[in-house]
Subunit: 96 residues, 2 copies
């Protein structure tokens, strides 16, 4: 039997994710409750919306952009970015 | 603050999922460890591979089919289906 899957919680359980490691690399799938969050990156992140939408203020940008199902945005390592979540949203985040 | 997100575990923690409810409907995102599983449906399910691949024996089929990233298979309510997982795989499952 493989090792148990790791679930992480952030922002007082308003964001939860499950980690995986496969041919595509190391990533997580997770869900964000409605709210507004500020995330920090330690690696480059490829964030893809799986269901719902994320309105994002990318590092160095002054405008907010909305990403919907199957759309991806990229954040470099050691950056922070803002996320507004207007409906509960599932995402896939791949680390590089 | 919204209610806490629900995490479910199946098959001795070899499969875990997080539930969400948004404009697309009720769904889960989850991860399956390497292994072989038999799932039962209580509602119609639209299963989409988010990362990795699933080899599936759909109800009434004699052959196994492999679904990869962004591919979807549909299972009607009250059916069971077999899944072989050769690499750790993330999925999105929408219920109807």
């Amino acid at each position: 039997m493989s090792k148990a899957l790791t679930v992480n919680s952030y922002f007082e359980d308003q964001v939860k994710s499950i980690a995986l490691d496969n041919a595509e690399g190391v990533s997580t799938v997770g869900v964000m409750q409605i709210g507004e969050y500020e995330f920090g990156t330690s690696q480059k992140e490829y964030m893809t919306v799986v269901s719902g939408s994320l309105t994002v203020k990318l590092p160095g940008e002054s405008d907010w952009q909305t990403f919907t199902k199957n759309q991806t945005f990229i954040v470099e390592a050691n950056q922070s970015f803002g996320v507004k979540v207007a409906e509960v949203t599932a995402y896939h985040c791949r680390y590089e």
